[in-house]
């Protein structure tokens, strides 16, 4: 069974009960530095394995970029 989430602004489907850690590995397998917000709340890396996604969740995965 799959659920629908919004990932970086795009609607997508993932397996039910996917963890944030699994999502990060699936989406950014070669990216060593990714930070995560779930439903506008920051989720520390240490908790990624414990947080399971639910229908309608909004996930933001961010990475370093140039800035002024």
């Amino acid at each position: 069974m799959s659920i629908h989430i919004t990932l970086n602004g795009s609607r997508t489907s993932v397996a039910d009960a996917t963890t944030l850690r699994q999502l990060v590995r699936w989406h950014s397998p070669e990216e060593p530095a990714v930070a995560v917000a779930l439903n506008q709340r920051f989720i520390p890396r240490s908790e990624h394995g414990d947080v399971h996604l639910s229908e309608g969740d909004e996930v933001e995965l961010v990475t370093p970029m140039q800035g002024g």
Binding site: N8, G9, H27, S28, E30, E31, P32, A33, V34, A35, V36, A37, Q40, R41, F42, P44, R45, E60, L61, V62, T63, P64, M65, Q66, G67, G68
Partner: protein, 258 residues
């Protein structure tokens, strides 16, 4: 030497990492500027990675202190979450706090800024607030626990220079011991020198170097300008006067005017 958030640096120039023609030019310009603190940001990760990865690797090799920003945030809530993500991503509790209140001038929202600053200070962040030169706002930010103020000189990316010299001088006079950094608006080395002559502790700029015809040469020019401006401030500028004062003594002149 220059103390910034309990760390000691040699350079009083903080430089942004955006808008350079290439990563190589960015690194060369940063090296030429002599800066030890570089601002960075974060963005949505695209599937499969991208240039952000290469950028971060390049910057890491240069062993610079990084100052992440919350650019693009329009509310305290957004800025707080962005700061939390930046802390984990860049492994620093420093945050250049931007809460934008007006899209055409990118003027900071003083209310959202203060709200976010209070929350982040409570969470152990070292907040570098990008603010206007408003005295009451600055007073409230300091009252909340900020030890640094980063007022604008002019709107971000405008290159207009120091549009508010009297107000920056007043901030310096009122708060002689806080770290005062002009952030935004500087377009030419003379602008940076002016900010330093006013007694600012440092300047932060990006576009003026990155968008110059020769960013590396411009970075070197800014290095000299900041050093010259600081030395001028420390030497004590002469008092100004609207009336002329002859610089050559007229005692013992062989002739005189009736």
């Amino acid at each position: 030497m220059f103390e910034l958030a309990r760390r000691t640096f040699h350079s009083r120039l903080l430089v942004g990492s955006a808008q350079y023609p290439s990563l190589e030019v960015m690194r060369d310009a940063i090296a030429a500027s002599g800066t030890e603190v570089v601002t960075v940001s974060l963005r949505r990760q695209t599937a499969g990675g991208g240039s952000g990865n290469a950028f971060w690797r390049a910057l890491n090799q240069d062993r610079l202190a990084v100052l992440p920003n919350t650019a693009g945030c329009h509310s305290a809530e957004e800025a707080i979450v962005t700061a939390q993500m930046a802390r984990e991503l860049f492994d620093t509790h420093w945050i250049k706090l931007e809460v934008i209140g007006d899209d055409s001038t990118l003027q900071p929202d003083p209310f959202g800024l203060l709200e976010a600053a209070r929350e982040l200070l409570g969470q152990g962040f070292e907040v570098f607030p990008y603010c206007t030169d408003d005295l009451v706002l600055c007073d409230r930010l300091l009252g909340a626990g900020c030890r640094i103020l980063m007022p604008w000189g002019a709107p971000i990316g405008s290159g207009l220079g120091i549009d508010n010299a009297a107000r920056l001088a007043e901030l310096r006079r009122r708060y002689p011991d806080i770290t005062l950094i002009v952030d935004a608006g500087i377009g030419a080395p003379s602008h940076a020198a002016r900010a330093m002559e006013l007694g600012c502790d440092a300047v932060l700029l990006n576009s003026a170097i990155a968008r110059a015809g020769d960013p590396v040469a411009m970075a070197s020019a800014f290095k000299s300008a900041v050093e010259a401006g600081r030395r001028g401030f420390e030497a004590g500028l002469m008092p100004t006067s609207r009336e002329a004062r002859p610089s050559t003594p007229d005692i013992g002149k062989p002739f005189w005017h009736a």
